[in-house]
Symmetry: C2
Subunit: 415 residues, 2 copies
């Protein structure tokens, strides 16, 4: 096909991505709101794979999801049900969801319902399990994980849901804009955003306290106990923003980046489906008592945040990450600067004070990646082979995905 | 006198200053808790002056204080009472208080009671009047200012007081340490600290809501409406820290820096009284519609924060200040770095992530200032001749104070 104006298509994808106004409108069980979740299905991160290809922690997470739903009494029964198709496996992003690490979604799990104000388009993300390093999304399922998930389902989510409805929803972009100037990059650090989110809900918490009592106190505690609560809101906001930019004919802008246990994949606005490549090497800082031999891949779609100019694309706003994921602030700033060479533009809303309020580099153009050789970077949590989180780090997308994408683009649109 | 070990004395002053553990224990009317305030007295910022020497906004602030207390019905009556000694004028720091801008304290005004845990030593600071640019501490007194002060006295302070007692006090240092990594320098920016303070009080707010109702909602709003609420807590924490370091025989460490309408003054640990010098020039960024001809001095003791390693000594932690007080982040970082040459040491608690978690430069040594020619810098609000805040900026202490201090030191301790 000829006559495609790639520059105009990319400008339009960028415009749609940055025009998004994500609002948290509700929190509901996935089965009641996520398309295709009212059946025996477990969603997981990454481009879809056949059940038998999931391995390690991601497979354990799927099994844990089945056990959590009570569809099987034992690990073996759960495996048999997956083998027979009695339980389906789905890819999060095929259901407008986005998965943190293994990204396990089951029908009874509560999800944030985030809606773009102008278009009504929705994205969903399930909720942070808490600061324990053992979590289902890190491939672990035991009594502790079960208890924590039940607490999220029966205390945190209903309390938050009632509060969010009471105050009429929470526009997320204003909080995210401010958080970037308060030490967050909204992927591996969400401390300020979580505090501001709790602050936004406070009038509702006060009104509901006489009815909900200690559940409100517990909820406030969970919202602000560490650096991660807001991440799931940042992810849902990023997902709806990226989805709005997807499907622009001729656009070479990346609209999703995701890991499974097997591979790294990207989506591109003007192309169909996932473009799959190998994993890449990671620069990690591990918690005490762990070493590099334990590092494993079990999925991860939180790089949806990098796709819209946050996370690794906003490291200049988050100097404390050096203590968590390694590296120096000078190196983080320098790396952040280089990313302007591979994007469509500077974000009109998400800005970094340390860069003189320059907008974050936003809208990865696969052709600029190929031309410069500069790879998108992502701030990620690191999972261990034994399950659980063992550290954090920075990972670069593999060049192979972008080479394949360019070939697909040429095949579809001509050179 | 010979035999003074200045190095050991300075190390001891630094140790005392940095060992402080300030805790907010209560909020009470000044008359009930501040020494010498149970009479007709108005406290104001800076080394003490005779009443007739106060001019401009600082004089207007004192008059406003008398009117606020109802000691006079008109401006003229108030002036006559100050003239006759029927109302006394005091210096904030002679009463363990510390004044923001004009620093007007009257007996009925509520003050934060901040106590050092180990020693029981206390410092006090009155409360932020709110985001209106017209405020008594900026030399304005009218119906709006009166209403705002009454709201602070009758709604904000009692609600906060009851909440603080309910939760058993609030240790301030942990909040301040975290705030420095969330964009605050705890003088001209206190956004994160104010949010965290509101978060600390939330369990109390919830428990007291059924009793106090809308006063709680109003209080939460006032705590987080702009960037300044926590400043008065930062100032009280700094005051108690600096006071602990004062009075170490032979120490040449600065323990207070303060403006009045007439002059800039410092206190030094091993010397008595205030050492007075001229004002210095300011690099200001003014709000729209104002120009440099309007800038005036009407006092200010918030540089107590710089005295203990915050504010201008922690600019590297607060990149957004460029938008408020001018300059670039690169210039702020460079200036912050130079201040290590004039201090006793690096703060063991207050650290800057952007400097690789280096402690802030803390404990200004007057001899290092003289030797290097590097002047302490302070982040300040700028008052206008017509009253009210017209901008913000960075000011350098005048060298003359340090020259005089060195002469006094030599006279007392020998060369």
């Amino acid at each position: 096909m000829t006559g495609i104006d790639r520059a105009a298509a990319n400008a339009e994808a960028f415009r749609r991505m940055t025009a998004a106004e994500p609002v948290l409108v509700d929190i509901l069980p996935a089965r009641d709101v996520v398309p295709g979740m009212d059946r025996r299905i477990v969603l997981t991160s990454g481009a879809p794979l056949p059940w038998e290809d999931y391995e390690g922690g991601q497979r354990e997470g799927l099994i844990g999801g089945a056990l959590y739903e009570g569809w099987a009494g034992t690990r073996e029964e759960a495996i048999a049900l997956f083998d027979s198709g009695g339980i389906a496996v789905g890819a999060c992003q095929d259901h407008a969801c986005v998965g943190s690490l293994a990204g396990i979604y089951t029908p009874s799990m509560p999800v944030f319902v985030v809606e773009d104000r102008a278009t009504g388009r929705r994205a969903y993300c399930n909720m942070y399990e808490g600061k324990s390093r053992k979590r289902l999304n890190y491939g672990t399922y035991d009594e502790t994980v079960h208890r924590q998930l039940k607490m999220v389902e029966t205390i945190l989510a209903p309390t938050l849901a009632e509060t969010v409805r009471d105050i009429g929803g929470v526009p997320l972009k204003p909080l995210m804009i401010r958080a970037l100037n308060m030490g967050d990059e909204l992927h591996s650090r969400n401390t300020a955003a979580s505090l501001m989110f709790a602050r936004e809900l406070t009038p509702g918490f006060l009104r509901l306290f006489s009815k909900l009592g200690s559940h409100v106190e517990k909820t406030v505690e969970l919202l602000t106990e560490d650096h991660y609560f807001f991440l799931r809101l940042s992810m849902a906001a990023a997902k709806v923003s990226a989805d709005l930019a997807h499907g622009v004919e001729g656009a070479s802008i990346v609209t999703a980046m995701a890991f499974s246990c097997r591979e790294f994949s990207i989506r591109v606005s003007g192309l169909d489906g996932w473009i799959r490549g190998p994993h890449a090497s990671v620069e990690a800082k591990l918690f005490d008592g762990h070493d590099a031999s334990e590092i494993t891949w079990m999925g991860g779609e939180s790089p949806i945040t990098e796709t819209i100019g946050l996370g690794g694309f906003a490291q200049g706003g988050a100097p404390t990450l050096q203590a968590y994921q390694g590296g120096s602030y000078a190196a983080m700033m320098a790396r952040n600067e280089t990313l302007y060479d591979i994007v469509e533009g500077e974000n009109p809303d998400y800005k970094i004070a340390a860069f003189g309020y320059r907008g974050t580099p936003t809208g990865i153009d696969l052709f600029k990646v190929l031309k410069t050789g500069i790879l998108p970077v992502m701030d990620i949590g690191i999972a261990g082979k034994g399950g659980g989180q063992i550290g954090a780090g920075v990972v670069s997308a593999p060049m192979d995905c972008f080479r394949q994408a360019a070939e697909l683009y040429a095949a579809r649109y001509g050179d």
